[in-house]
Structures are given as C-alpha cells and as structure tokens.
C-alpha cells in the first residue's frame, strides 16, 4: 500500500545528477514538485522585486500561513482517509465566536491556555458529529459536511449572534500581539513575528508523528486506499472516521481562536468561504482527492505555495483581477503533473 511504498522510497539511493532519478523522485514524492514550484516562484518574485527578500515579507508569509495551514492539516487527514470536508470553516467560526462571546460575558478571567483548550475540544466535538454522521448514515462526506456547514453556520447566526465583537478580552489581545521577534524595517516600519506562529510548526510536528509513526496514521491511509481491505485488516472504520473528522475539527477550533486573536475582532461572518482555497492547498501538496496518499510535508508546501502566490501578486505588479486566474493556473499545472507522474517509468522511456 501507499505507506509501504513510501517507506521503500526512503531507502532508495538517490543520484540527483541522473535525470531519470530526479524524475523518479518527483514521481514518488509529489511534495517535491510543490516545493520546486515554490522555490521557482520565490526566485522569480525576488528577481522582479527584490523587496520580497526582506525578512519582513518572509515573516508576513509565515504569519499569513498559520490559519490556512492548520485548516489544511485537518483537511489532509480527511482526504487521506478518503473523505472530504467543507464544514471546517463553519466549525471554526462557530467555535471562535461563541467562545469569545462566552469569555467576554461569563468568564473574563479565563486564562489563554484554557481558552485554547476549550476551542480545541469544542472543535473536536463538532468534528466528531461529522464523523458519526458520515459513518452512521453511509452518505458521502461531501453531502454530510455541506449539511453541517449550513447547520453550524445557521446555529451561529441564528442563536449565538451576528454582531462584530471588537472589544476582545485582554488576554486574547495580548496573545495575538505577543511578538517572538521584532525589528525595524528600512522605512521605520515595525515588523514582528507573532508568538502564535509557533503553534503551526508544533502542530506540523504532531501531525507528522501521527501519520508517519502511529498505527492510527497507518489506519487512515489504509482506509483511504481501500476501506474494505482496511476493515478486513482490522482497522475500525468507525474509529477512523470519527478520529479524522474530530482531528480536523480540533484544528479548526484552534485556527478559529488564533484568527480572532490575530485580527483583534470576532466577526461571525468570517472564515466561511475560504474552504476551497484550503482544499486547493492540500491538493497542491500532492494529496489525491480520492484518498490514500499524500504527506504532511506536501500539505505544508501546498499551504506555503498558496500563501506566497496570493501574497506576492501585488508585489510583482499583477492586478487584482488576475490573481484568481494565476492561482487557478497553478492548480491545473500541478494537477496535470500529478496525473502524468502516475504513468509507469517504462512508458515514459518508450515515449
């Protein structure tokens, strides 16, 4: 299965000077394609506008990738298990807004760590609802999560509130503003790397461990590859389904609360509508929409690619109207490559 195949890859000696070997590497490790495109874009952008290489702009990219990145890791788990989720943004919005409102009105002294913990647990519970429905109803996860997206968002707007919360509790503002590193740019512009950025690499590490080192990771890929075989191998399908959706929900809850702290306002209409971009990032990272493949590293590369593309177009002078066109072109380009890579090397030689 894919996992086994990937493990074999790692033991294959690589000779970068050999053209065919490079092709082979790219074929087996699709995230390398994404990384290559990423590097090419970065080089091109820095040639067009050297301002890109300022530490400030790199920090901005890092900062901008946190929320999308957390969402993407959750979506990756679900794609790997052969499902899809479009409700995670609604989970994030419901969690972040309700929790912020709760902290403001009921528990203004709640420490930030507790707020984050509650967001993660609440998100996981909402995600678990998706998992139980997908497993219990035996309905495609796309249908279920379209339903729950409307449901969660409806609950938020109908029962929780529709008013922008501008005065956040001080601990959340402090969390959003806390800087790891701060410096003055050339024109007196202050740039700081926010402390919440650290959460992203930590979660990436955890996700990598989960997928590459635990039985659950193996079970997820097995389920995505062929659910019947996975069930026969003894991987509990119910557990896998509930786990991946709860995992995505937990990350969505976390992303939501980071989003609120970073933007310094809780807007109940935020986030929902960004799910396609997140799914695009995961697919760009090499995860097949039909499940069973992909890697955490690839997902991170996909997120960075989307972030860089959407944050440098002004810098290189591409007008707003063209931005979606460029992003769409990249997705198609990567997709075309991923289809080609599935061809056997022998066929390629014959060409």
């Amino acid at each position: 299965m894919t996992m086994v195949q990937e493990m074999n890859d790692r033991s294959t000696p690589k000779r970068p000077e050999d053209k065919l070997t490079i092709w082979e590497t790219l074929r087996r490790r699709p995230e390398m394609v994404t990384l290559t495109i990423l590097v090419v874009i970065c080089v091109a952008v820095s040639i067009i506008n050297p301002n890109f290489l300022q530490p400030g702009s790199l920090i901005d990219m890092g900062r901008a990738s946190v929320v999308t990145g957390l969402f993407a890791l959750g979506v990756f788990a679900i794609l790997a298990a052969g499902g899809i989720d479009v409700s995670f943004t609604a989970i994030a919005a419901l969690t972040m807004y309700s929790l912020t409102k709760f902290v403001i009105t009921v528990a203004p002294d709640l420490p930030m760590a507790a707020i984050i913990a509650i967001a993660v647990v609440a998100g996981a519970l909402l995600g678990a609802v998706n998992g139980l429905l997908v497993h219990g109803l035996r309905v495609p996860s796309l249908i279920v999560t379209i339903g729950t997206q409307y449901l969660f968002r409806g609950i938020l707007l109908a029962f929780v509130g529709t008013v922008w919360l501008m005065e956040l509790p001080p601990q959340m503002t402090a969390f959003g503003k806390a800087a790891l590193y701060q410096f003055q740019g050339a024109n007196g512009v202050t740039v700081d790397l926010p402390a919440y950025f650290l959460i992203f690499p930590v979660v990436v590490g955890l996700a990598w461990f989960l997928f590459d080192r635990t039985l659950m990771g193996r079970a997820i890929f097995a389920t995505g590859g062929n659910p019947e075989v996975a069930a026969r191998l003894g991987y509990g399908q119910r557990v896998v389904h509930v786990f991946v959706f709860a995992f995505a929900g937990a990350l969505a809850g976390l992303a939501g609360i980071i989003h609120v702290s970073a933007t310094r306002m809780a807007n109940p209409f935020d986030l929902v509508g960004t799910e396609i971009e997140v799914i695009a990032a995961v697919v760009l990272g090499g995860a097949r929409i039909t499940g069973g493949t992909g890697s955490v590293l690839g997902t991170v590369a996909g997120v960075l690619l989307i972030t860089v593309v959407s944050n440098t177009l002004v810098l290189v002078g591409i007008p707003s109207t063209w931005q979606r066109l460029v992003v769409g072109a990249f997705i198609l380009l990567a997709a075309a490559f991923f289809v080609r890579r599935k061809q056997k090397p022998k066929q390629r030689k014959a060409e």
């Binding site: 702009s57 935020d270 944050n311 002004v314 931005q323």
Partner: protein
C-alpha cells in the same frame, strides 16, 4: 400548506375589509408601512431599526415595522416580500439584497396599489422612489478630499474596493481619482485592490502594499471592513498618524483605530436616518403628495432632497446624508 394559504387568504380578506373601512378617514391613518432590510440582526440594520421605531413612535396612528431575513439571502428576502404583498400592506420600504430578483414581486405589489420605496438600489426599475443617502460621486470626492487634506496633497496613495463588480465602490474610488487630479503631487499606485469585505485579507494586502511602496502616504477604502484591515496593518507597522487612511466604515468597530490614529477618518451614511427617510417618503406618497425637487422629508440629511429620473418609471431621491467623522467627532454618531 393549505392551512397557510387559508390563513393568508383570511388575512387578505380582513385587510381588504379594513382598507375599505379606512377609506374616507385621513389618508395615512391606520395604514401600514413595512420596512424590509437585507438581513436582520447585524449592526447596520439594527441601527436602521432604531430609526423605523422612532418613526413609528412619531406616527402612532400608523402600523410601522421592520422585518428582514436572518441570513444575507436574496431568495429569503423575496419570500418575505411576497408574503407581505399577499398580506396586503399599504406600503413597502425595501433595501434590496439583489434588485434584479425583486423586480417581479415589486411590480406585482405596485399593480395591487401598494406603495413601493427602495433604498440603496438606484438601478431598481420597479419602484416609485429610490432613496439614496448621497450622490455617490460627491461621496467619493469627499473621502478623497479628506485624504488629500491629511496627505498635504502629495505622496503615493492607493484604493481598495469590495470587488471590481461592486458598482458603488467603483463609483466612489473613480470620483476619488478624479478629485485627486487637483493635486498633481498625489500619485496613485496599484489601484482598485479587491478586499472582498474581509478584514484579514485586506490586512495581508495592505501589508504587501506597505512593503512594495514603503513611501506610501494614503489609502482610500470602500467596503465596511476595509478600514479595519488596513488600519491594523498601519497600526502594527507603527505608522499610525504617518500614513493616512480614509474610507467607508462604521463608528463602533472603527473606534479603537480612530483613537490610535491608524484611521484618519471614516465616511458613512446613518441607516437610522435612511430608515426614517424611506418611511417619511412612503407616508407622503400614501397621502398623495407629489415628490418634488428640494422637498423636505423631515429627517436630518434629507431636508432638501434632489429628485432625478430613476432607472424605471420611478424617481431617484438623493439626500445629503453623508457623514464624515474623525477621531474628534465620531462619538457624536456612535453606533
């Protein structure tokens, strides 16, 4: 469903009976005006509701209320208007989500003798009068004039719109560009950035612009959340008070950034006054008054409205309801 139909039928019958009875008495007495907003429960239309309620208090002999769908959904708004027409209200004051979708039902309403007034829909064909708070070109020019004043008439500046398809936003920045021509030292760079009314996206884009043009001096923005996104980018960069930002925004959400100097000034129109103006105009039409240029609707900002031909048979009633506030004045109209 049958029950619902029956109920509506009964309602219509009673209303018709009431109407018959009401005739002959003073024109507006007992008449009903229903204001239909785009979405209920958001700050903007909550504020409009305070105006509608105030108008209802002043006219206790009439039945005046405000309704709206729970989500920004033009189909739901259509449903509400259809129900109201079936119920037989005397006048409708509608803020259309999507004017095109409401054309049919509003025509039917007018055919039945219901007075129809709209707001924020200068392209609505089937309306007797569309109330606009201000002339879009004048508003855009006023925002830009405030920006130019802050920038001392020189330096690089840029513009944000909700989306390139948003007609009013394009009118505002277009008029702004036109106004900036008075100042040859003002240089427009990378204009018409799309914000999609998303504060986070606007923030990222504003940071990028600050990086590309380290010497930028001004931003003119259009969608309600743009000032919040650009304001945060300016504040975080330590440029509050050094870079000017003038755009459409609401006082309450913008308060912190106005105080810090990250937002120079915000422009808007007061939905409370717009709601009152719509109801006032509907009352006048119900009473058979003619809509004339320079007429007084009895509401601040609408004391001398200009009347122009509308998109259809109706007229366009343009007030002078523009509000431009800064750090020192925003508290006067806090909502």
């Amino acid at each position: 469903m049958a029950f619902k139909g029956l109920k509506i039928g009964l309602l219509a019958a009673t209303t018709a009976a009431m109407l018959a009875g009401a005739q002959g008495v003073a024109a507006q007495e007992g008449k009903s005006i229903t204001t239909v907003v785009k979405i209920s429960g958001i700050p903007w239309f909550d504020r409009m509701k305070t105006g509608v309620e105030k108008y209802a208090q002043e006219h206790s002999d009439m039945k005046i209320e405000q309704v709206g769908p729970a989500t920004a959904d033009s189909a739901q708004q259509l449903q509400i208007v259809q129900d109201l027409v079936a119920r037989g209200v005397d006048a409708l004051a509608v803020v259309p989500m999507d004017p095109a979708i409401l054309e049919g039902v509003l025509k039917r309403a007018m055919d039945r003798g219901i007075v129809v007034v709209t707001h924020e829909a200068d392209n609505q064909k089937n309306t007797m009068a569309d109330v606009e708070a201000f002339d879009n070109a004048e508003y855009g020019a006023a925002l830009n004039e405030r920006l130019a004043k802050c920038m001392d008439g020189k330096g690089k500046w840029t513009t944000f719109v909700g989306s390139l398809g948003s007609r009013t936003h394009m009118q505002w920045v277009g008029a702004g560009e036109e106004n900036a021509k008075k100042y040859p030292d003002m240089e427009l760079v990378d204009p018409n950035n799309e914000s999609f009314d998303d504060a986070q996206g606007t923030y990222e884009k504003a940071k990028e612009i600050l990086r590309k043009h380290p010497d930028i001096k001004g931003f003119q923005t259009s969608a309600g959340n743009d000032v919040l996104g650009v304001g945060r980018a300016i504040e975080e960069a330590g440029l509050a008070g050094k870079v000017c930002l003038v755009g459409t925004g609401l006082p309450n959400p913008s308060a912190a950034y106005l105080d810090s100097g990250a937002i120079t000034a915000i422009g808007f129109w007061d939905p409370q006054k717009a709601g009152m103006a719509m109801n006032s105009l509907a009352t006048k039409i119900l009473a058979g008054e003619e809509i004339t240029d320079g007429m007084d609707l009895g509401v601040d900002g609408y004391h001398s409205v200009s009347v122009r031909p509308g998109a259809g048979d109706g007229v366009l009633v343009v007030g002078n309801g523009m509000v431009l506030v800064d750090k020192d004045t925003y508290k006067e109209t806090l909502f």
